[in-house]
């Protein structure tokens, strides 16, 4: 009898777990993604070393992803940004040769999107980068959502990027309670914040 109950509860909890983890269309095909979306680490056409650029060479994120402050998308650096340095720097390395060749052929790099939200989600980098607290300090670092990219080689998905994860954060951005007024949620959690 005990065995039966054990088997039954294992079955129920595992199906509940996978039900919870599954949201239609949430995860990417052929990926290394876990059930909850983290850990996606696809092979990229060029092995770009984030650690070397961001940590060793101390290049700020927005040097390359320059649209983050201005646009919905953070933007990928155009090849001429890369070539700005690599005309001179480390020209003999294999990936850089490849890149040079592509640049000369006017051929873009087709990166595999790592942080890929479903198409019905309208996320804007701009407002998140510009989000400030009362003292005018930025609320979010790039790392808040992308993880310690400066420690990664090619980029890897760190956060689940699922709706519950977004909403948890949005619900916790609160102005403290004032006299007679409850704590205010300042980050919107209405559906049309992201879906339209």
């Amino acid at each position: 009898m005990f065995l039966r109950i054990l088997v039954l509860s294992c079955f129920l909890s595992s199906s509940a777990y996978s039900w919870w983890g599954y949201t239609p269309g949430d995860s990417v095909d052929n990926s290394t993604q876990s059930l909850f979306g983290t850990g996606y680490h696809p092979k990229q056409p060029i092995d770009f070393n984030h650690r070397m650029h961001a940590t060793d060479r101390k290049i700020p994120c927005e040097y390359c992803h320059s649209a983050a402050r201005r646009s919905k998308t953070a933007g990928l650096p155009p090849l001429n940004t890369c070539m700005g340095c690599h005309k001179i720097v480390n020209t003999s390395a294999e990936p850089i040769k490849k890149m040079k060749e592509m640049f000369d052929n006017n051929e873009p790099i087709k990166w595999v999107k790592v942080h890929d939200l479903p198409d019905f989600v309208r996320f804007s980098h701009r407002v998140h980068v510009l989000a400030k607290d009362k003292d005018g300090k930025a609320v979010l670092e790039c790392q808040s959502c992308h993880g310690q990219v400066q420690g990664m080689f090619t980029a890897e998905q760190w956060a689940p990027l699922q709706m519950g994860w977004c909403v948890d954060c949005h619900n916790n951005v609160k102005e403290p309670a004032k006299e007679g007024k409850p704590a205010l949620t300042t980050a919107p959690v209405t559906c049309n914040t992201c879906h339209f």
Binding site: G25, R70, N106, K110, W111, T193
Partner: protein, 1037 residues
């Protein structure tokens, strides 16, 4: 307008600092250099980084069974190789340009994302259209991406078409031209340098500039300019400032939707209808058919078709006999002589047209007293008397003293896009060796009785250069794909001295070239060392003259770039005024109106014009506002006449005219003269290459016999006797609205208010939102509450909002078959209601979109929270959450929700090919798949964008910063959008206006609140002018 027109260089250079209007050449140097577009097109340069064109829920539907393992395919992110300096992925770039759909030349602002145009908007700084744009202009984006545009040059061999390369095609053309003695060009109307350029090309090719033939199906350009030539000596058009006119008399006019410059006239008219500012014009219309313009009239007189010139003469008579009328002694005696000569015609005219003499006298009195204007003519009366009608209108305007007040002919007059009598000249011209047909479709738009096909067939080489395949191609030997307007260089001079620049917003999306460049290429084979490499260089050279005229304090290069950036410049031309000439002799040709059982009026359709918009599904789909018929052509008859002859709606009848006969279905339309029947033009194409327009409706021009207006030489296309016979067959017209003649006593949908009350009741005693409610208000914390106000006194039903909304929000076109089932997808629809006498009803057109109710009945019923309320008052629709129970749509009392019965895939629409190129979609709006509910979102993407912009600049969103697509484009300024929480915002003030009411909101003044849905959309009641009250309240400006 005068101030607005004085666009001096200071303004230009100021605006050069604004990031809004960008020069395309700065972003895409390839365009500037005029590089061959067919080569070297690299994906990485123009493809977007984050293109989200499809909801990839497609994959979900495909593997519905195995739902638990649904995963999205991995997406690629493609970066630029060389990112243009001011191109930020994800941020729209706007280019100022000029619309090319009709010769009116409205300024446009092309919104591009990652290098591809996604939306056109009227250029808000452009003095002509002031931000407005008609449906035809909005639809240009569909023309750009139309899948049936020619992919390569073609040779015709009998009925067969063969693709050839550009080199082969040009070789053939050059060979033909080299051997030719007489080369001609047949082209559409234009007011800029285009015709001048063609003339120059013709001359350089050894032909004469006389071999340029211009043709515009809208004969109004010809008849008006001819009348002005006869009266004042210049073949130009008058500039009409309708905003200045307190009293407007229309004689068969349709100026708001298919006149000389519909958008600018609509803007002016609506400015004169500003009830709030205490000035509301009065508009009296005489017409035989029911036009959208006529539907806005305060007083409408139904006359038999063909009597417009008689009405105009009666008006002249009444004015002349009024002692207060103006005009020089000589002019007055000329008028007297003219009237005298036409006495026979005018004798029984009051009875014939059914309008009494006292009416004319009253109108004459008002015309003289107030700043007034008489406007005349539209497609419904392009008959033998078309120019005489204009001559009479000139007389009337002179007698009333309108010149210099509301009509300007010597200061910033409007340019005519065509040269008069070219069609007759073309017929009479000797044998041409080569003819270029450029952006014109004479075989379709000239009545077939003119047998232009026979004329064409005598020409050994016809080269047709079209941005979209046209009927004329079937007689052409070589068909060359021309650039679309959005891919072309050009300019327009709509008002003398005022120039509007056209620049390409994208490199050619198909394998096409600009017609002017093709001609230059051909010319290069004849003449070495051409002074300009391409048309852009030509324009740049020509614009020196404008630079000289304006004399700005900046260098020419800077000036030219600044103009491209801003889109327009100029200095209004002024010339010495001429006296009015005696035109009495011309009235000898006045033909008595046709006598027959039925007289057919064939007006230009306000969406398709003569047929130029027929290949654009969005124009077919928005339908005609008065009949709500989409896709088809109908025969409109007076309901009493229909009853008399036993014709019913959708009954197929055969209509036989002097030139032929057609079969089409009857639609009883109130407001027509009992003896007038109407078939709108625009459909009836027989070219298989355009599946949208192929065999769609009929062309009334097949009924007409060959005749022309003796003065302007334009063919007669309207007003001729027809016979109608029932065939016993039926054809279901794709009408979107049931034939509802009245409101069945429903009082809180459309409201009207007498002017007397409007003035008494500036604001409500009780605010619209002051509705007793048990529940606490929920939106107190938020800064915004978005609201909209729609002025029913202004809306005329032109459908521009529907087109703009469809383009902005990726609304699919469902197709005729689906409309028959009642499945159109418009987020904004136009409900039309008639009141009163079927022979001459009051017409109301009401735009209805999601009302964004604060107490929305749709929200509570959704089981999955797919539609919820946001604290800013928006009714939010979450497509991806929707499972499609359709309960919300049932619960909606306004029935504004639309369900995706199918996945409206790109390229599928019933049996027709549909243009829904993924590149043509707005990347900021999710594309919906089957099984999902959708509805108006108040252009949430624009609101979000504005809020983010404001946040980036640490400020609040300003009033007017967010404009919904419908509001932005509305030529009548009927829609206002904004923040209701800001008491100073326009929309908040309009919500407090005395005319404001909520649809289905009961009668709050009697403590009856209807459904209490508390919509954020409020309507402003239509104003009615009652007898005896006009005098007090007519004009206060």
């Amino acid at each position: 307008m005068t101030e607005r027109l004085e666009t001096n260089v200071n303004q230009v250079s100021q605006s050069s600092r604004s990031p809004h209007y960008m020069a395309a050449e700065e972003v895409l140097p390839e365009i500037a250099e005029g590089k061959d577009s067919s080569s070297g097109k690299k994906e990485g340069e123009i493809l977007p980084v984050d293109r989200r064109d499809f909801m990839r829920l497609f994959s979900l539907s495909a593997v519905a069974g195995a739902a638990s393992c649904v995963r999205r395919p991995a997406e690629k992110a493609i970066a630029y190789v060389k990112q243009p300096i001011d191109q930020v992925p994800g941020v729209a770039t706007h280019y100022a340009s000029t619309c090319g759909s009709c010769p009116a030349g409205c300024g446009i602002s092309v919104k591009t994302r990652e290098g591809r145009p996604v939306k056109l908007e009227g250029n808000s700084e452009h003095p002509l259209n002031q931000g407005g744009l008609c449906a035809l202009g909005q639809a240009e984006i569909q023309g750009l991406y139309h899948p049936e545009r020619l992919q390569s040059p073609q040779f015709r061999d009998g009925d067969k078409w063969g693709d050839v390369t550009w080199d082969e095609a040009l070789a053939k053309v050059i060979a033909g031209v080299k051997n030719a003695k007489k080369v001609g060009i047949f082209t559409g109307g234009a007011t800029g340098h285009r015709h001048e350029f063609f003339e120059e090309v013709l001359k350089r090719l050894g032909s004469s500039e006389k071999e340029l033939y211009t043709w515009e199906a809208n004969s109004l350009y010809s008849s008006v300019s001819e009348a002005y030539r006869l009266s004042f000596g210049h073949a130009d058009l008058p500039r009409m400032e309708l905003s200045e006119a307190a009293f407007i008399v229309g004689v068969g006019t349709d100026f708001q939707v298919s006149g000389l410059s519909p958008v600018s006239h609509s803007k002016g008219f609506s400015q004169g209808r500003s009830v709030r500012r205490g000035r509301r014009n009065k508009f009296v219309q005489f017409e035989s058919n029911l036009t959208l313009t006529g539907s806005t009239a305060d007083e409408r007189h139904v006359i038999p078709a063909g009597n417009e010139s008689v009405v105009a003469l009666l008006l002249v008579k009444a004015l002349y006999e009024n002692p207060a009328s103006k005009g020089t002694q000589k002019f007055r005696s000329d008028v007297a002589a003219t009237l005298q000569a036409q006495e026979a015609v005018l004798l029984n005219a009051y009875e014939t047209i059914g309008v009494g003499r006292d009416v004319f006298d009253g109108i004459a009195q008002e015309l003289i007293e107030k700043p007034s204007i008489v406007m005349a003519g539209s497609g419904a009366n392009f008959d033998q008397n078309a120019t005489l009608l204009q001559l009479a209108a000139i007389m009337a305007n002179t007698l009333s003293g309108a010149f210099g007040k509301t009509i300007f002919f010597d200061e910033g007059w409007a340019k005519s896009p065509v040269r008069n009598g070219d069609l007759v000249r073309f017929e009479e011209a000797g044998k041409l060796d080569v003819l270029f047909v450029i952006d014109s479709d004479p075989l379709f738009s000239v009545p077939q009785s003119w047998k232009l096909g026979d004329l064409f067939s005598k020409i050994p080489l016809i080269v047709s250069i079209q941005s979209f395949p046209v009927e004329t191609d079937r007689v052409a030997h070589v068909v060359l794909p021309g650039n679309h307007n959005l891919e072309s260089w050009g300019d327009e001079q709509s008002i003398a001295g005022f120039w509007s620049m056209r620049q390409p917003a994208v490199r050619p999306t198909k394998n096409s070239r600009q017609a002017e460049d093709i001609l230059l290429w051909v010319l290069a084979s004849v003449e070495k060392n051409l002074p300009y490499q391409d048309y852009r260089a030509y324009l740049k050279k020509k614009w020196h003259a404008i630079y000289e005229l304006i004399r700005p304090s900046i260098a020419y290069e800077t000036f030219f770039k600044a103009v491209i950036r801003r889109g327009f410049t100029g200095k209004m031309s002024i010339r010495a005024a001429n006296d009015v000439k005696d035109v009495q002799q011309h009235f000898r040709t006045l033909k008595a109106p046709s006598v027959g059982k039925f007289v057919l009026a064939a007006p230009l359709d306000h969406r398709l014009v003569e047929g130029r918009g027929a290949h654009l599904p969005i124009l077919q789909e928005i339908g005609d506002a008065l009949t709500s018929i989409a896709w088809d052509t109908w025969l409109a008859v007076n309901p009493h006449t229909a009853k008399k002859f036993g014709w019913q709606r959708n009954q197929l009848v055969s209509v036989t005219g002097p030139g032929g006969s057609v079969e089409l279905a009857v639609y009883p339309l109130p407001g027509l003269h009992p003896d007038t029947v109407v078939i709108p033009r625009g459909n009836g194409h027989e070219d298989k290459r355009s599946t949208i327009s192929y065999l769609n409706g009929v062309n009334p021009l097949t009924l007409v016999e060959k005749a022309s207006d003796p003065l302007s030489g334009q063919p007669v296309t309207s007003v001729f006797p027809v016979e109608i016979k029932a065939t016993g067959k039926w054809f279901r017209l794709a009408a979107m609205q049931k034939l509802v003649h009245d409101m069945e006593g429903r009082a809180d949908i459309i409201k009207t208010m007498p002017m007397k009350e409007v003035l008494k009741k500036a604001t409500h005693k009780r605010g619209l939102d002051d509705v007793p409610d048990l529940f606490p208000k929920l939106d107190e914390e938020s800064k915004h509450r978005w609201g909209m106000s729609i002025d029913l006194d202004r809306c005329n039903g032109c459908g521009a909002c529907m087109a703009a909304c469809g383009i902005e929000n990726n609304v699919p076109q469902a197709g005729r078959e689906q409309i028959l089932l009642g499945r159109e997808m418009h987020w904004i629809r136009l409900d039309r209601y008639f009141r009163g006498d079927l022979n001459n009803p009051q017409v109301s057109v009401q735009p209805v979109m999601c009302q964004h109710c604060n107490h929305a009945p749709c929200e509570g019923v959704c089981p999955v929270y797919a539609t919820t309320h946001d604290p800013e008052g928006l009714n939010a629709m979450t497509y991806n959450r929707c499972v499609g129970t359709r309960y919300c749509a049932n619960a909606c009392p306004y029935k504004v929700r639309r369900f995706n019965w199918w996945t409206h895939r790109w390229g599928e629409m019933g049996e027709r090919l549909q243009d829904r190129n993924p590149r043509a979609t707005n990347p900021d709006v999710t594309v919906r798949t089957k099984g999902v509910m959708e509805k108006c979102s108040f252009c949430l993407q624009r609101i979000t964008d504005a809020k983010h912009n404001a946040k980036g600049q640490n400020r609040e969103v300003r009033d007017g910063e967010v404009q919904t697509a419908c509001q932005q484009t509305c030529p009548m300024n009927a829609i206002v959008f904004g923040n209701l929480k800001d008491p100073t915002s326009r929309v908040a003030q309009l919500r407090d206006d005395g005319r404001a009411y909520l649809m289905l909101g009961g009668a709050p003044e009697h403590d009856h609140f209807g459904l209490k849905t508390l919509p954020n959309v409020s309507y402003l009641a239509e104003v009615t002018l009652e007898e005896g009250t006009q005098e007090e309240h007519g004009h206060h400006g």
